[in-house]
Protein backbone atom coordinates (compact mmCIF):
# COMPACT_ATOMS: atom_id res chain seq x y z
CA UNK A 1 0.00 0.00 0.00
CA UNK A 2 1.07 3.53 -0.71
CA UNK A 3 3.12 4.77 2.30
CA UNK A 4 2.24 8.40 1.50
CA UNK A 5 -1.45 7.58 1.81
CA UNK A 6 -0.83 5.88 5.16
CA UNK A 7 1.03 8.94 6.46
CA UNK A 8 -1.79 11.17 5.29
CA UNK A 9 -4.24 8.93 7.10
CA UNK A 10 -2.16 9.01 10.29
CA UNK A 11 -2.29 12.82 10.31
CA UNK A 12 -6.04 12.94 9.60
CA UNK A 13 -7.52 13.78 13.01
CA UNK A 14 -11.09 12.74 12.16
CA UNK A 15 -9.91 9.40 10.82
CA UNK A 16 -7.99 8.66 14.00
CA UNK A 17 -11.01 9.46 16.18
CA UNK A 18 -13.03 7.22 13.88
CA UNK A 19 -10.41 4.45 14.10
CA UNK A 20 -10.56 4.58 17.92
CA UNK A 21 -14.35 4.29 17.86
CA UNK A 22 -14.19 1.45 15.34
CA UNK A 23 -11.65 -0.45 17.45
CA UNK A 24 -13.83 -0.01 20.52
CA UNK A 25 -16.94 -1.27 18.73
CA UNK A 26 -15.06 -4.20 17.17
CA UNK A 27 -13.76 -5.17 20.61
CA UNK A 28 -17.32 -4.97 21.88
CA UNK A 29 -18.44 -7.32 19.12
CA UNK A 30 -15.53 -9.73 19.68
CA UNK A 31 -15.57 -9.94 23.50
CA UNK A 32 -18.97 -8.50 24.42
CA UNK A 33 -20.87 -11.80 24.55
CA UNK A 34 -18.25 -13.24 26.97
CA UNK A 35 -18.59 -10.20 29.24
CA UNK A 36 -22.38 -10.34 29.29
CA UNK A 37 -23.52 -11.22 32.83
CA UNK A 38 -26.67 -13.12 31.72
CA UNK A 39 -27.96 -15.06 28.71
CA UNK A 40 -29.51 -12.51 26.32
CA UNK A 41 -32.85 -14.31 26.00
CA UNK A 42 -33.38 -15.26 29.66
CA UNK A 43 -36.36 -13.52 31.26
CA UNK A 44 -36.24 -12.41 34.88
CA UNK A 45 -39.89 -11.51 35.19
CA UNK A 46 -39.92 -11.66 38.97
CA UNK A 47 -36.92 -9.43 39.62
CA UNK A 48 -36.93 -7.09 36.65
CA UNK A 49 -40.59 -6.36 35.94
CA UNK A 50 -42.44 -4.19 38.45
CA UNK A 51 -46.17 -3.95 37.65
CA UNK A 52 -45.30 -5.16 34.16
CA UNK A 53 -42.81 -2.32 33.61
CA UNK A 54 -39.06 -2.99 33.33
CA UNK A 55 -36.72 -1.63 36.00
CA UNK A 56 -34.26 1.15 35.13
CA UNK A 57 -30.45 1.31 35.44
CA UNK A 58 -28.90 0.58 38.85
CA UNK A 59 -32.22 -0.33 40.41
CA UNK A 60 -31.55 -4.04 40.81
CA UNK A 61 -28.13 -5.42 41.72
CA UNK A 62 -26.50 -7.51 39.02
CA UNK A 63 -28.43 -5.74 36.24
CA UNK A 64 -26.52 -2.46 35.82
CA UNK A 65 -28.52 -1.12 32.87
CA UNK A 66 -31.89 -2.44 33.92
CA UNK A 67 -34.27 -4.60 31.92
CA UNK A 68 -35.90 -4.61 28.50
CA UNK A 69 -39.73 -4.71 28.11
CA UNK A 70 -39.76 -8.51 28.48
CA UNK A 71 -37.65 -8.55 31.65
CA UNK A 72 -34.37 -9.50 30.01
CA UNK A 73 -31.02 -7.98 31.06
CA UNK A 74 -30.46 -4.90 28.90
CA UNK A 75 -26.65 -4.91 29.20
CA UNK A 76 -26.40 -8.54 28.09
CA UNK A 77 -28.67 -7.90 25.13
CA UNK A 78 -26.68 -4.83 24.08
CA UNK A 79 -23.41 -6.80 24.25
CA UNK A 80 -24.82 -9.73 22.26
CA UNK A 81 -26.42 -7.26 19.89
CA UNK A 82 -23.00 -5.78 19.18
CA UNK A 83 -21.80 -9.10 17.80
CA UNK A 84 -24.99 -9.69 15.79
CA UNK A 85 -25.13 -6.23 14.25
CA UNK A 86 -21.42 -6.19 13.45
CA UNK A 87 -21.41 -9.75 12.06
CA UNK A 88 -24.19 -8.90 9.64
CA UNK A 89 -22.59 -5.58 8.66
CA UNK A 90 -19.14 -7.11 8.09
CA UNK A 91 -20.41 -10.18 6.25
CA UNK A 92 -22.66 -8.04 4.04
CA UNK A 93 -19.77 -5.67 3.34
CA UNK A 94 -17.55 -8.62 2.45
CA UNK A 95 -20.14 -9.95 -0.01
CA UNK A 96 -20.70 -6.53 -1.55
CA UNK A 97 -16.93 -6.00 -1.83
CA UNK A 98 -16.35 -9.29 -3.62
CA UNK A 99 -19.16 -8.61 -6.11
CA UNK A 100 -18.33 -4.91 -6.54
CA UNK A 101 -14.59 -5.36 -7.07
CA UNK A 102 -15.07 -8.30 -9.46
CA UNK A 103 -17.65 -6.49 -11.57
CA UNK A 104 -15.63 -3.27 -11.57
CA UNK A 105 -12.36 -5.02 -12.49
CA UNK A 106 -13.87 -7.04 -15.32
CA UNK A 107 -15.93 -4.12 -16.56
CA UNK A 108 -13.04 -1.67 -16.57
CA UNK A 109 -10.50 -4.10 -17.98
CA UNK A 110 -12.68 -5.65 -20.68
CA UNK A 111 -14.34 -2.42 -21.82
CA UNK A 112 -16.69 -2.32 -24.79
CA UNK A 113 -19.92 -4.28 -24.67
CA UNK A 114 -19.25 -6.00 -21.34
CA UNK A 115 -18.50 -2.63 -19.75
CA UNK A 116 -21.65 -1.01 -21.11
CA UNK A 117 -23.83 -3.87 -19.99
CA UNK A 118 -22.31 -3.99 -16.50
CA UNK A 119 -22.65 -0.25 -15.98
CA UNK A 120 -26.31 -0.22 -17.10
CA UNK A 121 -26.89 -3.02 -14.59
CA UNK A 122 -25.23 -0.88 -11.92
CA UNK A 123 -27.51 2.04 -12.85
CA UNK A 124 -30.48 -0.28 -12.54
CA UNK A 125 -29.57 -1.53 -9.05
CA UNK A 126 -28.85 2.05 -7.96
CA UNK A 127 -32.35 3.15 -8.93
CA UNK A 128 -34.07 0.40 -6.95
CA UNK A 129 -35.94 1.58 -3.87
CA UNK A 130 -33.52 -0.16 -1.50
CA UNK A 131 -35.57 -0.37 1.68
CA UNK A 132 -38.78 -1.40 -0.07
CA UNK A 133 -37.12 -4.17 -2.09
CA UNK A 134 -35.18 -5.40 0.95
CA UNK A 135 -38.22 -5.79 3.16
CA UNK A 136 -40.31 -7.37 0.40
CA UNK A 137 -37.56 -9.94 -0.23
CA UNK A 138 -37.11 -10.61 3.48
CA UNK A 139 -40.85 -11.10 4.02
CA UNK A 140 -41.59 -13.11 0.86
CA UNK A 141 -38.67 -15.50 1.24
CA UNK A 142 -39.16 -15.59 5.00
CA UNK A 143 -35.42 -15.36 5.62
CA UNK A 144 -34.67 -14.15 9.12
CA UNK A 145 -31.17 -15.61 9.66
CA UNK A 146 -27.85 -13.79 9.92
CA UNK A 147 -26.62 -15.27 6.67
CA UNK A 148 -29.78 -14.51 4.70
CA UNK A 149 -29.90 -10.88 5.79
CA UNK A 150 -26.19 -10.38 5.12
CA UNK A 151 -26.51 -11.77 1.59
CA UNK A 152 -29.62 -9.65 1.01
CA UNK A 153 -27.88 -6.44 2.06
CA UNK A 154 -24.65 -7.34 0.25
CA UNK A 155 -26.35 -8.15 -3.03
CA UNK A 156 -28.20 -4.83 -2.98
CA UNK A 157 -25.23 -2.57 -2.21
CA UNK A 158 -22.14 -3.41 -4.26
CA UNK A 159 -22.77 -0.80 -6.96
CA UNK A 160 -20.78 2.16 -5.61
CA UNK A 161 -17.73 -0.03 -5.21
CA UNK A 162 -18.12 -1.42 -8.73
CA UNK A 163 -18.10 2.11 -10.13
CA UNK A 164 -14.99 3.24 -8.30
CA UNK A 165 -13.16 -0.03 -9.05
CA UNK A 166 -13.97 0.40 -12.71
CA UNK A 167 -12.68 3.99 -12.71
CA UNK A 168 -9.43 2.95 -10.99
CA UNK A 169 -9.04 -0.02 -13.35
CA UNK A 170 -9.39 2.23 -16.35
CA UNK A 171 -6.64 4.43 -14.91
CA UNK A 172 -4.40 1.47 -14.12
CA UNK A 173 -4.88 -0.10 -17.55
CA UNK A 174 -2.91 2.66 -19.19
CA UNK A 175 -0.08 2.65 -16.62
CA UNK A 176 3.36 1.88 -17.99
CA UNK A 177 4.05 -1.17 -15.88
CA UNK A 178 0.79 -2.72 -16.97
CA UNK A 179 1.78 -2.10 -20.57
CA UNK A 180 5.19 -3.58 -19.78
CA UNK A 181 3.56 -6.65 -18.27
CA UNK A 182 1.49 -7.08 -21.40
CA UNK A 183 4.57 -6.63 -23.57
CA UNK A 184 6.26 -9.40 -21.57
CA UNK A 185 3.42 -11.66 -22.61
CA UNK A 186 1.88 -12.27 -19.19
CA UNK A 187 -1.61 -13.71 -19.17
CA UNK A 188 -4.64 -11.46 -18.71
CA UNK A 189 -5.56 -12.98 -15.37
CA UNK A 190 -2.05 -12.47 -13.98
CA UNK A 191 -2.00 -8.83 -15.14
CA UNK A 192 -5.42 -8.27 -13.63
CA UNK A 193 -4.61 -9.79 -10.27
CA UNK A 194 -0.95 -8.87 -9.82
CA UNK A 195 -0.72 -5.47 -11.51
CA UNK A 196 -4.18 -3.91 -11.66
CA UNK A 197 -5.80 -5.19 -8.46
CA UNK A 198 -3.21 -3.63 -6.07
CA UNK A 199 -4.34 -0.19 -7.30
CA UNK A 200 -7.83 -0.98 -6.12
CA UNK A 201 -7.00 -2.11 -2.58
CA UNK A 202 -6.80 1.37 -1.01
CA UNK A 203 -9.98 2.82 -2.53
CA UNK A 204 -11.84 -0.44 -1.86
CA UNK A 205 -10.77 -0.25 1.79
CA UNK A 206 -12.13 3.30 2.00
CA UNK A 207 -15.45 2.53 0.33
CA UNK A 208 -15.73 -0.73 2.28
CA UNK A 209 -15.33 1.11 5.59
CA UNK A 210 -18.04 3.59 4.64
CA UNK A 211 -20.14 0.62 3.55
CA UNK A 212 -19.95 -1.01 7.00
CA UNK A 213 -21.59 2.14 8.40
CA UNK A 214 -24.35 1.92 5.81
CA UNK A 215 -24.83 -1.80 6.49
CA UNK A 216 -25.24 -1.13 10.22
CA UNK A 217 -27.86 1.44 9.29
CA UNK A 218 -29.62 -0.86 6.84
CA UNK A 219 -29.70 -3.81 9.24
CA UNK A 220 -31.00 -1.62 12.05
CA UNK A 221 -33.65 -0.15 9.75
CA UNK A 222 -34.82 -3.64 8.78
CA UNK A 223 -34.93 -4.76 12.41
CA UNK A 224 -36.60 -1.53 13.48
CA UNK A 225 -39.40 -2.10 10.98
CA UNK A 226 -39.77 -5.71 12.10
CA UNK A 227 -38.10 -7.33 9.08
CA UNK A 228 -34.81 -8.29 10.70
CA UNK A 229 -33.60 -11.30 12.66
CA UNK A 230 -36.29 -13.48 14.18
CA UNK A 231 -36.89 -12.93 17.92
CA UNK A 232 -35.55 -13.46 20.53
CA UNK A 233 -32.31 -12.44 18.76
CA UNK A 234 -31.16 -9.04 19.97
CA UNK A 235 -29.92 -6.62 17.35
CA UNK A 236 -29.64 -2.93 18.17
CA UNK A 237 -32.34 -2.00 15.69
CA UNK A 238 -34.86 -4.49 17.06
CA UNK A 239 -34.10 -3.34 20.62
CA UNK A 240 -34.86 0.20 19.56
CA UNK A 241 -38.10 -0.94 18.01
CA UNK A 242 -39.15 -2.96 21.08
CA UNK A 243 -38.49 0.00 23.36
CA UNK A 244 -40.80 2.38 21.48
CA UNK A 245 -43.96 1.56 23.39
CA UNK A 246 -42.27 2.12 26.75
CA UNK A 247 -40.38 5.26 25.85
CA UNK A 248 -42.30 7.50 28.22
CA UNK A 249 -41.63 5.28 31.24
CA UNK A 250 -38.11 4.06 30.56
CA UNK A 251 -36.20 6.38 28.16
CA UNK A 252 -32.89 4.57 28.75
CA UNK A 253 -34.28 1.62 26.78
CA UNK A 254 -34.28 3.86 23.71
CA UNK A 255 -31.16 5.78 24.63
CA UNK A 256 -28.61 2.93 24.89
CA UNK A 257 -29.20 1.17 21.55
CA UNK A 258 -29.54 4.57 19.85
CA UNK A 259 -26.21 5.65 21.28
CA UNK A 260 -24.46 2.45 20.19
CA UNK A 261 -25.82 2.60 16.63
CA UNK A 262 -24.86 6.25 16.31
CA UNK A 263 -21.35 5.80 17.73
CA UNK A 264 -20.69 2.83 15.44
CA UNK A 265 -21.95 4.55 12.32
CA UNK A 266 -20.15 7.77 13.23
CA UNK A 267 -16.87 5.91 13.79
CA UNK A 268 -16.96 3.96 10.53
CA UNK A 269 -17.99 7.09 8.62
CA UNK A 270 -15.14 9.18 10.07
CA UNK A 271 -12.55 6.49 9.38
CA UNK A 272 -13.99 5.87 5.92
CA UNK A 273 -13.88 9.53 4.95
CA UNK A 274 -10.29 9.74 6.16
CA UNK A 275 -9.36 6.67 4.09
CA UNK A 276 -11.18 8.12 1.11
CA UNK A 277 -9.21 11.34 1.32
CA UNK A 278 -5.95 9.45 1.80
CA UNK A 279 -6.49 7.09 -1.14
CA UNK A 280 -8.24 9.62 -3.35
CA UNK A 281 -11.25 7.35 -3.77
CA UNK A 282 -13.76 9.98 -4.78
CA UNK A 283 -15.93 9.51 -7.83
Amino acid sequence: MDPRALRKLWRHRGAMVGAALVLFVLALGAFGPYLAPHPPAQQFRGELLVDGLPVGPFEVEGFPLGADPLGRDLLSRLLHGARLSLSIALLATFIATVIGVSVGLISGYAGGFVDGLAMRFVDLILSLPFLLIAIVIQKSLDGAGIFFISVLLGVLSWTGLARITRAKTLQARSLEYVEAARALGYGELRILLRHVLPNIVGPALAIGTLMVANMILAESALSFLGFGLAPPAASWGSMLSESQSLMEWQPTLTLFPALLISATVFGFNLLGEGLRDAFDARL
Binding site: F130, L132, K139, S140, L217, F224, F227, M247, A258
Partner: protein
Protein backbone atom coordinates in the same frame (compact mmCIF):
# COMPACT_ATOMS: atom_id res chain seq x y z
CA UNK B 1 -30.92 16.67 -25.50
CA UNK B 2 -34.24 15.26 -26.72
CA UNK B 3 -32.61 11.98 -27.60
CA UNK B 4 -30.98 11.81 -24.21
CA UNK B 5 -34.27 12.50 -22.44
CA UNK B 6 -36.06 9.84 -24.49
CA UNK B 7 -33.41 7.29 -23.64
CA UNK B 8 -33.49 8.33 -20.01
CA UNK B 9 -37.28 7.99 -19.91
CA UNK B 10 -37.11 4.56 -21.54
CA UNK B 11 -34.57 3.48 -18.93
CA UNK B 12 -36.89 4.81 -16.24
CA UNK B 13 -39.74 2.69 -17.60
CA UNK B 14 -37.45 -0.34 -17.66
CA UNK B 15 -36.50 0.20 -14.02
CA UNK B 16 -40.13 0.57 -12.98
CA UNK B 17 -41.03 -2.60 -14.92
CA UNK B 18 -38.22 -4.60 -13.33
CA UNK B 19 -38.96 -3.36 -9.81
CA UNK B 20 -42.63 -4.11 -10.25
CA UNK B 21 -42.13 -7.57 -11.73
CA UNK B 22 -39.64 -8.50 -9.02
CA UNK B 23 -42.00 -7.46 -6.25
CA UNK B 24 -44.93 -9.19 -7.96
CA UNK B 25 -43.11 -12.50 -8.31
CA UNK B 26 -41.71 -12.29 -4.78
CA UNK B 27 -45.11 -11.66 -3.23
CA UNK B 28 -47.31 -13.95 -5.26
CA UNK B 29 -44.92 -16.75 -6.14
CA UNK B 30 -42.52 -17.00 -3.18
CA UNK B 31 -44.78 -15.52 -0.56
CA UNK B 32 -48.13 -16.96 0.44
CA UNK B 33 -50.63 -14.09 0.81
CA UNK B 34 -53.60 -16.43 1.37
CA UNK B 35 -52.13 -18.09 4.45
CA UNK B 36 -50.84 -14.81 5.88
CA UNK B 37 -54.16 -13.03 5.31
CA UNK B 38 -56.42 -15.73 6.72
CA UNK B 39 -54.19 -16.50 9.70
CA UNK B 40 -52.81 -19.75 11.08
CA UNK B 41 -56.25 -21.09 12.06
CA UNK B 42 -57.78 -21.03 8.59
CA UNK B 43 -58.93 -24.36 7.21
CA UNK B 44 -57.52 -25.68 3.93
CA UNK B 45 -60.96 -25.14 2.35
CA UNK B 46 -60.98 -21.46 3.32
CA UNK B 47 -57.49 -20.98 1.92
CA UNK B 48 -58.45 -22.72 -1.30
CA UNK B 49 -61.59 -20.61 -1.61
CA UNK B 50 -59.59 -17.40 -1.07
CA UNK B 51 -57.03 -18.41 -3.70
CA UNK B 52 -59.79 -19.28 -6.15
CA UNK B 53 -61.55 -15.98 -5.56
CA UNK B 54 -58.41 -13.85 -5.94
CA UNK B 55 -57.05 -15.85 -8.87
CA UNK B 56 -53.97 -16.89 -6.87
CA UNK B 57 -54.12 -20.44 -8.24
CA UNK B 58 -53.34 -19.27 -11.74
CA UNK B 59 -49.74 -19.23 -13.03
CA UNK B 60 -47.86 -16.17 -11.76
CA UNK B 61 -47.34 -14.80 -15.29
CA UNK B 62 -51.08 -14.87 -15.90
CA UNK B 63 -51.71 -13.14 -12.57
CA UNK B 64 -49.20 -10.44 -13.51
CA UNK B 65 -50.78 -9.78 -16.92
CA UNK B 66 -54.27 -9.72 -15.45
CA UNK B 67 -53.10 -7.31 -12.76
CA UNK B 68 -51.67 -5.04 -15.42
CA UNK B 69 -54.92 -5.25 -17.39
CA UNK B 70 -53.40 -6.78 -20.51
CA UNK B 71 -55.42 -10.01 -20.41
CA UNK B 72 -59.03 -10.46 -19.19
CA UNK B 73 -59.71 -10.49 -15.49
CA UNK B 74 -58.98 -13.63 -13.42
CA UNK B 75 -60.16 -12.22 -10.07
CA UNK B 76 -63.60 -13.64 -9.40
CA UNK B 77 -64.66 -10.88 -7.00
CA UNK B 78 -63.93 -8.10 -9.51
CA UNK B 79 -66.83 -6.37 -11.28
CA UNK B 80 -65.25 -7.06 -14.63
CA UNK B 81 -65.21 -10.82 -13.98
CA UNK B 82 -67.73 -12.99 -15.76
CA UNK B 83 -67.94 -16.80 -15.62
CA UNK B 84 -68.11 -16.83 -19.39
CA UNK B 85 -64.59 -16.07 -20.70
CA UNK B 86 -66.13 -14.44 -23.79
CA UNK B 87 -67.86 -11.75 -21.73
CA UNK B 88 -65.00 -11.20 -19.29
CA UNK B 89 -63.69 -7.63 -18.92
CA UNK B 90 -60.37 -6.25 -17.71
CA UNK B 91 -59.52 -5.35 -14.15
CA UNK B 92 -55.96 -4.10 -14.17
CA UNK B 93 -53.73 -1.09 -13.66
CA UNK B 94 -54.38 0.05 -17.24
CA UNK B 95 -58.08 0.30 -16.38
CA UNK B 96 -57.30 2.16 -13.14
CA UNK B 97 -58.19 -0.90 -11.03
CA UNK B 98 -55.58 -1.76 -8.42
CA UNK B 99 -57.57 -4.56 -6.84
CA UNK B 100 -58.98 -4.86 -3.37
CA UNK B 101 -56.83 -4.71 -0.25
CA UNK B 102 -56.73 -8.13 1.53
CA UNK B 103 -56.42 -6.34 4.83
CA UNK B 104 -58.92 -3.47 4.57
CA UNK B 105 -61.43 -5.07 2.17
CA UNK B 106 -61.78 -1.91 0.11
CA UNK B 107 -60.31 -0.85 -3.23
CA UNK B 108 -56.57 -0.19 -2.97
CA UNK B 109 -57.06 2.98 -5.02
CA UNK B 110 -59.31 4.37 -2.27
CA UNK B 111 -56.87 3.42 0.49
CA UNK B 112 -54.04 5.16 -1.35
CA UNK B 113 -56.15 8.19 -2.26
CA UNK B 114 -56.82 8.66 1.45
CA UNK B 115 -53.18 8.21 2.48
CA UNK B 116 -51.27 9.94 -0.32
CA UNK B 117 -52.12 13.57 0.61
CA UNK B 118 -50.89 12.89 4.14
CA UNK B 119 -47.53 11.65 2.93
CA UNK B 120 -47.26 14.52 0.47
CA UNK B 121 -47.95 17.01 3.29
CA UNK B 122 -45.21 15.42 5.40
CA UNK B 123 -42.82 15.34 2.45
CA UNK B 124 -43.42 18.99 1.56
CA UNK B 125 -42.93 20.07 5.17
CA UNK B 126 -39.71 18.07 5.37
CA UNK B 127 -38.49 19.60 2.12
CA UNK B 128 -39.16 23.09 3.46
CA UNK B 129 -37.15 22.19 6.57
CA UNK B 130 -34.29 20.87 4.43
CA UNK B 131 -34.15 23.88 2.15
CA UNK B 132 -34.56 26.48 4.88
CA UNK B 133 -32.05 25.12 7.37
CA UNK B 134 -29.74 23.46 4.84
CA UNK B 135 -29.28 26.49 2.62
CA UNK B 136 -29.05 28.83 5.60
CA UNK B 137 -26.42 26.75 7.36
CA UNK B 138 -24.49 26.26 4.11
CA UNK B 139 -24.31 30.01 3.43
CA UNK B 140 -23.30 30.71 7.02
CA UNK B 141 -20.55 28.09 6.91
CA UNK B 142 -19.22 29.38 3.58
CA UNK B 143 -19.13 33.02 4.64
CA UNK B 144 -17.45 32.17 7.95
CA UNK B 145 -15.15 29.60 6.39
CA UNK B 146 -12.55 28.20 8.78
CA UNK B 147 -14.14 29.94 11.76
CA UNK B 148 -16.15 28.47 14.62
CA UNK B 149 -19.50 28.73 12.81
CA UNK B 150 -18.10 26.76 9.89
CA UNK B 151 -16.73 24.01 12.14
CA UNK B 152 -20.02 23.78 14.01
CA UNK B 153 -22.04 23.48 10.81
CA UNK B 154 -19.70 20.88 9.35
CA UNK B 155 -19.78 18.84 12.57
CA UNK B 156 -23.56 19.11 12.50
CA UNK B 157 -23.73 17.79 8.94
CA UNK B 158 -21.55 14.87 10.01
CA UNK B 159 -23.98 14.02 12.76
CA UNK B 160 -26.89 14.64 10.41
CA UNK B 161 -25.82 11.98 7.93
CA UNK B 162 -24.67 9.53 10.62
CA UNK B 163 -27.85 9.60 12.69
CA UNK B 164 -30.65 7.56 11.15
CA UNK B 165 -34.29 8.62 11.56
CA UNK B 166 -35.03 5.63 13.80
CA UNK B 167 -32.50 7.06 16.26
CA UNK B 168 -33.35 10.75 15.99
CA UNK B 169 -37.09 10.07 15.74
CA UNK B 170 -37.56 8.26 19.07
CA UNK B 171 -35.19 10.73 20.77
CA UNK B 172 -37.09 13.74 19.41
CA UNK B 173 -40.38 12.13 20.40
CA UNK B 174 -39.01 11.54 23.89
CA UNK B 175 -37.61 15.03 24.43
CA UNK B 176 -40.02 17.36 22.61
CA UNK B 177 -43.27 15.43 22.87
CA UNK B 178 -43.07 13.48 26.15
CA UNK B 179 -40.70 15.47 28.38
CA UNK B 180 -41.23 19.06 27.17
CA UNK B 181 -44.73 18.53 25.77
CA UNK B 182 -44.25 21.11 22.99
CA UNK B 183 -45.76 18.90 20.30
CA UNK B 184 -48.45 16.22 20.28
CA UNK B 185 -47.25 12.61 20.64
CA UNK B 186 -47.79 11.16 17.18
CA UNK B 187 -51.00 10.97 15.21
CA UNK B 188 -52.51 13.33 12.69
CA UNK B 189 -55.17 15.53 14.32
CA UNK B 190 -58.54 16.55 12.94
CA UNK B 191 -58.22 20.05 11.45
CA UNK B 192 -55.70 21.36 8.89
CA UNK B 193 -54.00 23.43 11.59
CA UNK B 194 -53.69 20.35 13.78
CA UNK B 195 -52.27 18.36 10.85
CA UNK B 196 -49.48 20.89 10.54
CA UNK B 197 -48.88 20.96 14.29
CA UNK B 198 -48.69 17.16 14.37
CA UNK B 199 -46.44 17.21 11.33
CA UNK B 200 -43.75 19.58 12.62
CA UNK B 201 -41.81 16.98 14.64
CA UNK B 202 -41.88 14.21 12.00
CA UNK B 203 -40.97 16.75 9.31
CA UNK B 204 -37.99 18.00 11.32
CA UNK B 205 -36.79 14.43 11.89
CA UNK B 206 -37.35 13.41 8.27
CA UNK B 207 -35.51 16.54 7.12
CA UNK B 208 -32.32 16.05 9.14
CA UNK B 209 -30.36 14.04 6.59
CA UNK B 210 -31.47 16.28 3.72
CA UNK B 211 -30.59 19.40 5.69
CA UNK B 212 -27.06 18.09 6.18
CA UNK B 213 -26.69 17.31 2.48
CA UNK B 214 -27.99 20.69 1.35
CA UNK B 215 -25.75 22.46 3.85
CA UNK B 216 -22.66 20.69 2.50
CA UNK B 217 -23.50 21.32 -1.13
CA UNK B 218 -24.47 24.93 -0.47
CA UNK B 219 -21.26 25.60 1.44
CA UNK B 220 -19.17 24.30 -1.44
CA UNK B 221 -21.14 26.22 -4.03
CA UNK B 222 -21.03 29.54 -2.16
CA UNK B 223 -17.28 29.22 -1.60
CA UNK B 224 -16.88 28.49 -5.30
CA UNK B 225 -19.14 31.38 -6.34
CA UNK B 226 -17.39 33.90 -4.10
CA UNK B 227 -14.10 33.15 -5.89
CA UNK B 228 -15.48 34.19 -9.29
CA UNK B 229 -14.48 37.32 -11.19
CA UNK B 230 -17.95 38.84 -11.07
CA UNK B 231 -17.70 39.00 -7.29
CA UNK B 232 -14.52 41.02 -7.59
CA UNK B 233 -16.25 43.25 -10.14
CA UNK B 234 -19.24 43.73 -7.83
CA UNK B 235 -16.94 44.69 -4.97
CA UNK B 236 -14.87 46.93 -7.23
CA UNK B 237 -17.89 48.95 -8.31
CA UNK B 238 -18.59 49.62 -4.65
CA UNK B 239 -21.67 47.49 -3.94
CA UNK B 240 -22.35 47.02 -0.24
CA UNK B 241 -21.09 43.64 0.99
CA UNK B 242 -24.55 42.18 1.69
CA UNK B 243 -25.55 42.86 -1.90
CA UNK B 244 -22.35 41.30 -3.19
CA UNK B 245 -22.99 38.21 -1.09
CA UNK B 246 -26.68 37.73 -1.67
CA UNK B 247 -27.33 39.14 -5.12
CA UNK B 248 -24.19 37.81 -6.77
CA UNK B 249 -22.73 35.04 -4.64
CA UNK B 250 -25.65 33.18 -3.11
CA UNK B 251 -27.91 33.58 -6.10
CA UNK B 252 -25.49 31.74 -8.36
CA UNK B 253 -24.90 29.11 -5.74
CA UNK B 254 -28.62 28.42 -5.38
CA UNK B 255 -28.94 26.91 -8.85
CA UNK B 256 -27.01 23.69 -8.16
CA UNK B 257 -28.85 23.26 -4.87
CA UNK B 258 -32.18 23.59 -6.69
CA UNK B 259 -31.35 20.67 -8.97
CA UNK B 260 -30.91 18.45 -5.94
CA UNK B 261 -34.57 18.64 -5.02
CA UNK B 262 -35.38 15.90 -7.53
CA UNK B 263 -32.62 13.72 -6.15
CA UNK B 264 -33.87 14.01 -2.58
CA UNK B 265 -37.17 12.31 -3.45
CA UNK B 266 -35.95 8.72 -2.90
CA UNK B 267 -34.57 9.69 0.50
CA UNK B 268 -37.85 11.32 1.47
CA UNK B 269 -39.77 8.25 0.34
CA UNK B 270 -37.72 5.69 2.27
CA UNK B 271 -37.36 8.09 5.18
CA UNK B 272 -41.12 8.47 5.30
CA UNK B 273 -41.51 4.70 5.76
CA UNK B 274 -39.61 4.86 9.05
CA UNK B 275 -40.68 8.32 10.24
CA UNK B 276 -44.37 7.58 9.76
CA UNK B 277 -44.01 4.44 11.85
CA UNK B 278 -42.34 6.33 14.71
CA UNK B 279 -44.88 9.16 14.80
CA UNK B 280 -47.94 7.08 13.91
CA UNK B 281 -48.50 9.31 10.88
CA UNK B 282 -51.24 7.73 8.74
CA UNK B 283 -49.45 8.02 5.42
CA UNK B 284 -48.22 5.74 2.64
CA UNK B 285 -45.07 4.75 4.52
CA UNK B 286 -46.96 3.34 7.47
CA UNK B 287 -49.35 1.66 5.01
CA UNK B 288 -46.41 0.05 3.19
CA UNK B 289 -45.00 -1.49 6.36
CA UNK B 290 -48.37 -2.79 7.44
CA UNK B 291 -49.12 -4.17 3.97
CA UNK B 292 -45.79 -5.96 3.62
CA UNK B 293 -46.07 -7.43 7.10
CA UNK B 294 -49.44 -8.96 6.22
CA UNK B 295 -48.47 -9.77 2.61
CA UNK B 296 -51.40 -7.64 1.40
CA UNK B 297 -50.08 -7.93 -2.13
CA UNK B 298 -52.54 -5.63 -3.98
CA UNK B 299 -51.61 -2.78 -1.64
CA UNK B 300 -47.87 -3.49 -1.73
CA UNK B 301 -47.92 -3.64 -5.53
CA UNK B 302 -49.76 -0.35 -5.92
CA UNK B 303 -47.45 1.41 -3.45
CA UNK B 304 -44.39 -0.07 -5.14
CA UNK B 305 -45.57 1.19 -8.50
CA UNK B 306 -46.21 4.63 -7.08
CA UNK B 307 -42.84 4.88 -5.31
CA UNK B 308 -40.89 3.53 -8.27
CA UNK B 309 -42.52 6.01 -10.67
CA UNK B 310 -41.99 8.91 -8.25
CA UNK B 311 -38.30 8.14 -7.83
CA UNK B 312 -37.80 7.90 -11.60
CA UNK B 313 -39.56 11.21 -12.17
CA UNK B 314 -37.38 12.77 -9.46
CA UNK B 315 -34.20 11.53 -11.15
CA UNK B 316 -35.37 12.74 -14.54
CA UNK B 317 -36.26 16.20 -13.20
CA UNK B 318 -32.85 16.44 -11.54
CA UNK B 319 -31.12 15.61 -14.85
CA UNK B 320 -33.20 18.11 -16.78
CA UNK B 321 -32.61 20.75 -14.11
CA UNK B 322 -28.85 20.28 -14.25
CA UNK B 323 -28.85 20.58 -18.04
CA UNK B 324 -31.10 23.63 -18.15
CA UNK B 325 -29.27 25.53 -15.44
CA UNK B 326 -25.77 24.85 -16.63
CA UNK B 327 -25.36 24.90 -20.40
CA UNK B 328 -21.79 23.69 -19.99
CA UNK B 329 -23.10 20.24 -19.11
CA UNK B 330 -23.89 18.12 -22.12
CA UNK B 331 -26.14 15.19 -21.53
CA UNK B 332 -25.16 13.20 -24.60
CA UNK B 333 -22.30 11.19 -23.08
Amino acid sequence: MTRYLLRRTAFGFLVVAIVFTTVFVLLNYFGDPAVTTLGPNASPEQILEFKERKGLNEPVAKQLLSYLGVIPCIRKDANAYHPDPEKRGYCGVLQGDFGESYLHHEPVADVIAWRLPRTVLLGVMALIVELFFGIGAGILAALRRGKTEDHLVMFGTYLGVSLPTYVTGPLALLVFCYLLGWFPVGGYGATPLEHIKHGIMPALVLGIAGTATYARVMRGEVIEAMRQDYIRTARAKGLPEHQVVFRHGVRNALLPAATMIGLSLPGLVSGAIITEKIFAWPGLGALTIEAIHSLDSPTVLAVTLLFAVMVQIGNLLADIGVALLDPRIRLES
